[in-house]
């Protein structure tokens, strides 16, 4: 009898533990999404549930945290339903910290130790939408590029309107194609100098390594000669004529280079491998 009582007590203890553990899945202060839905307008909830962000949360089995995963613990808000008691509009910095609870570093590397956007207090919601309504652009951006980036980087976006530019916007180059906005580390950011890594991901034939590189350990990489966002000059060069660009460094041209003749006013027509050559130190051929 004593053994039966002990077994029964053990069974009750296990059952009770299971119940208690099941109830304590959420961290302290978190109430669960169903609690949020008791008050908040169904249309808002419905709109949110149609968006990819919610669907991903559900796919990862985190449906209970669908609301508080971004808005923070809701216990205080449930007790006193005031906006000040929950993370909402105007608290983008705090909400951004919640984003990182799921979206940990996507790519590691020294750049992630202190990326430029973080150093300048740019938060997740400064660029990304909240996920409550359809995003104008992927991935859940508050605005399409380059208009999004142009809110701060106005000058760079303006350069895309020059006569010779990377075609921006539709079917063109987006800001994120060259500039990893979270300072992700890629193969090219590791292999190339900063002035080249943004370019050679697409311009792979300029990636090297070259037996005869040009410019040789240039200070700014591609930007030594090109205006990367746009230029009034063909091939997005920083100067109107090629020879004027080249002569700023190469002042010691051979004497037979008669600069009064048009052929010698376009250096790259003969020195065609101007980005580097595997076989010719004079850069005549690639």
């Amino acid at each position: 009898m004593q053994r039966l009582l002990l077994l029964f007590a053990y069974f009750i203890a296990c059952l009770g533990s299971a119940v208690l553990l099941g109830q304590s899945e959420l961290p302290e202060g978190y109430m669960g999404s169903e609690v949020c839905m008791e008050c908040h307008d169904e249309s808002d909830i419905y709109a949110y549930e149609q968006q990819p962000h919610y669907l991903e949360i559900v796919a990862h089995g985190l449906e209970e945290k669908a609301c508080e995963g971004c808005h923070g613990p809701g216990e205080e808000h449930v007790l006193d339903p005031m906006p000040e008691n929950i993370l909402g509009n105007g608290k983008t910095a705090a909400i951004s910290a919640e984003c990182r609870s799921c979206h940990a570093q996507m790519h590691t590397g020294l750049g992630m130790a202190n990326p430029a956007h973080t150093r300048n207090d740019v938060n997740c919601l400064d660029c990304h939408g909240s996920g409550h309504k359809p995003a104008p652009a992927k991935p859940m951006l508050a605005m399409a590029q380059p208009d999004l980036c142009g809110q701060c980087h106005t000058g760079q976006v303006l350069e895309f309107n020059a006569p010779f530019a990377h075609r921006s916007g539709h079917q063109g180059v987006q800001c994120g194609d060259c500039h990893p906005s979270h300072a992700e580390t890629t193969l090219h950011t590791l292999l190339e100098t900063p002035g080249r890594s943004a370019c050679v991901g697409c311009h792979t034939d300029k990636a090297g390594p070259f037996v005869f590189p040009h410019p040789n350990h240039g200070l700014d990489g591609c930007a030594e000669c090109h205006a990367p966002h746009g230029s009034p000059n063909p091939f997005m060069l920083t100067r109107a004529d090629v020879n004027n660009l080249c002569l700023e460094c190469h002042i010691d041209t051979p004497t037979f280079h008669d600069l009064t003749r048009p052929r010698y006013q376009s250096c790259s027509s003969c020195h065609a491998a101007v980005h580097g050559s595997q076989r010719d130190s004079r850069l005549f051929e690639e």
């Binding site: 570093q105 790519h107 590691t108 590397g109 020294l110 992630m112 130790a113 202190n114 150093r119 300048n120 207090d121 380059p146 208009d147 142009g150 809110q151 106005t154 000058g155 976006v157 303006l158 350069e159 309107n161 020059a162 006569p163 075609r167 539709h170 079917q171 063109g172 580390t185 193969l187 590791l190 292999l191 792979t204 034939d205 390594p209 037996v211 009034p232 000059n233 063909p234 100067r239 109107a240 004529d241 004027n244 002569l247 700023e248 002042i251 010691d252 004497t255 600069l259 009064t260 003749r261 048009p262 052929r263 006013q265 376009s266 027509s269 065609a272 595997q278 076989r279 051929e285 690639e286």
Partner: protein, 617 residues
């Protein structure tokens, strides 16, 4: 190829209407007219723009209704009245495979307006084809295939001196590069490896023909050039292997790449040039070469970068470069002196057997330390390099053997007290020991500064300055100062204005020495000076959602003593978004080119104007 491109464009435009499920495509055609005043040939030498129809823009984003691929993108512009044309094609299945092709062509047309020597003209084109295939469907590896073909074809004039007089030749160029490569990239290992193997073949064929019926240039002479055989070519095969390894974590970044390459060059040269002496009444005298040449070069190249976060605010970076290439050359055959007279013919051969070599080795190592705290960044760096060069042109020549060592110090300071202001400044100094070429500098210094300020949300101001100098006592001195400012006003969706101005002051003196007859040396100075001022402005002004005005102006004014010139270019474009997804714009561009060191008849004023119509679908 141009016809094929337009045909492809037409087919895909029709195809787009059939299969496109994404309504986000665009095609624009432009028509340009041109008013030319002055040396239009000079303008074509610089830009080679002409009147006519051209493809302003083609952007197709097709979604296939089958399971074969889920993106199909076409982008193209140029061709027609523009000297540069580009065609891009990308398609594939995201996450599984992608294919990309690019074709571009650039045409050059050089003339010498007003010259009495038309043989100085040149006319050629450079055509490039790139292909890339990537398979990403495996878990552990990614496969890449590349092909590349570049060709240059055309002709150009060339001076040729014989029997004390200049003659003109026309050279037909036919040069090509074909390159194929395969690469494998690991995806799941902690260290990412990329192994690539490529094969390249370079081919060049050339033929010379006498110009002006073989008559000497500039003056009448009694000896006309008769080129009976003047051609040659070479072929270079080059296999190469490249291995790169990268690793990144929160504390460490490592990137290393190595490459080995073999170039095997075989060349042939067949020349026999004859001159008709006394317009053929005396006989013929000529010189010839029949040569076979080899050049075998082995190249080894390595580069490594290592970054370590020593502490939360303290980073260290190490870099290393190594390059070694050695070339063995041979030239075997004979040179001929040929005389053909009315009574006697003879040839005087001389055997040619030259064997030489060219070896170069470069090594460089550097260290950089960075400290960051509260918007402040300080970087200090040191690098040391050595460059060895030794060569001999033939076994009868002395060996040239020199080394050059470099030490570089570098310091950079950046400060960002708030989101609106950023200041950067830097200094670097290079010291050299030893000289490979007589004009190598002995020291080089550089200072630079940069300020970026956002006084208000719509405003950005940037000011920059740099100064550098190179010198070598009694041989070389040069100084370059640059400074400028840029102001930007505007926000997206609203008016935007950008204006910038800059100055470049460059002066260099290089002592040079000519050797004239009897090896008499003449010392002189090669002097180059540029006092350049550049200015540019651009305005974007939208009027509602459908009308947009763009204005641009650029000034390039060099008052230096060497090649003073003044260039201005202006452009205006007015665009409309019309009904039925139609877009149209009118544009005008103007170039004023005044090379003040040349005669006025080499200047030009060109106005190009026209319209562009397009449709979104």
């Amino acid at each position: 190829m141009r016809t094929l491109s337009f045909a492809t464009l037409f087919v895909f435009t029709c195809f787009a209407g059939h299969v496109a499920t994404a309504q986000d495509n665009h095609i624009e055609l432009g028509v340009a007219f041109q008013d030319e005043d002055g040396a239009a040939d000079q303008f074509r030498s610089h830009r080679n723009l002409d009147e006519g129809v051209y493809l302003a823009n083609l952007a197709l984003d097709l979604a296939d209704n089958t399971a074969a691929f889920d993106f199909f993108e076409i982008a193209s512009h140029g061709f027609g009245a523009e000297p540069y044309g580009l065609f891009d094609l990308k398609f594939g299945k995201r996450g599984v495979w992608t294919a990309a092709f690019r074709f571009d062509r650039r045409e050059f047309d050089y003339a010498v307006p007003g010259a009495t020597w038309p043989a100085a003209a040149a006319d050629w084109n450079i055509t490039k084809l790139r292909g890339h295939f990537e398979y990403d469907g495996w878990q552990a590896l990614r496969l890449r295939l590349n092909l590349r073909e570049t060709s240059r074809r055309g002709d150009r004039g060339q001076a040729f001196y014989g029997l004390g007089l200049p003659y003109a030749l026309n050279r037909d160029m036919d040069e090509s590069l074909r390159s194929y490569g395969i690469g494998l990239e690991t995806k799941t290992l902690p260290v990412q490896f990329v192994l690539e193997q490529s094969w390249s073949v370079y081919e060049r064929d050339y033929t010379y023909r006498p110009h002006l019926d073989g008559e000497p240039l500039f003056e009448e002479g009694e000896n006309d050039l008769v080129v009976t055989n003047f051609n040659g070519g070479d072929e270079n095969e080059a296999p190469a292997m490249r291995l790169s390894a990268t690793y990144a974590s929160n504390r460490v970044e490592l990137a290393a790449v190595g490459m080995v390459r073999q170039d095997r060059l075989r060349s042939e040269r067949n020349e026999l040039t004859l001159y008709e002496l006394g317009q053929g009444n005396i006989g013929r005298l000529g010189f010839g070469h029949v040569l076979d040449g080899d050049a075998d070069r082995d190249t080894a190249l390595a580069r490594v970068r290592l970054g370590i976060a020593l502490a939360p605010r303290f980073l260290a970076r190490f870099t290393g470069h190594y390059r070694d290439w050695s070339t063995d050359t041979t030239s075997i055959g004979e040179s001929l002196l040929v005389a053909e007279g009315n009574q006697t013919d003879f040839e005087l051969p001389e055997t040619v057997d030259d064997r030489g070599f060219l070896d170069r080795e470069q090594t460089e190592a550097g260290i950089e330390l960075e400290y960051r705290h509260s918007g402040l960044s300080l970087v200090a760096g040191f690098a040391s390099a050595e460059h060895d060069l030794n060569y001999r042109r033939s076994q009868d020549d002395a060996i040239y053997d020199e080394s050059r060592e470099t030490e570089t110090l570098r310091l950079t300071l950046a400060w960002r007290p708030n989101k609106q202001l950023r200041l950067r400044a830097g200094w670097s100094e290079d010291d050299f020991d030893g000289f490979l070429f007589r004009t190598d500098p002995q020291a080089h210094d550089r200072y630079w500064g940069d300020l970026h300020w956002r006084p208000a949300e719509e405003w950005q101001i940037r000011v920059r300055a740099a100064s550098e100098s190179s010198d070598r006592e009694a041989v070389l001195s040069s100084a370059l100062d640059t400074y400028g400012a840029t102001v930007v006003y505007g926000k997206p969706k609203g008016p935007q204005i950008q204006a910038s101005v800059g100055w470049v002051d460059l002066a260099s003196n290089v002592d040079i020495r000519f050797y004239v007859a009897d090896e008499q040396a003449v010392d002189t100075v090669s002097f180059y000076e540029s006092e350049l001022m550049t200015g540019s402005a651009r305005v974007i002004w939208p009027f509602g959602e459908r009308v947009r005005l763009e204005l641009g102006a650029q000034l390039y004014d060099d008052d230096g003593a060497s090649a003073p010139l003044r260039l201005t270019s202006n452009d205006v474009r007015l665009g409309f978004k019309g009904p039925f997804s139609l877009d149209c714009s009118v544009f005008a561009q103007r170039w004023d080119h005044d090379r003040q060191y040349l005669e006025d008849d080499l200047d030009y004023e060109i106005t190009r104007y026209g319209f562009v119509v397009g449709r979104r679908f």
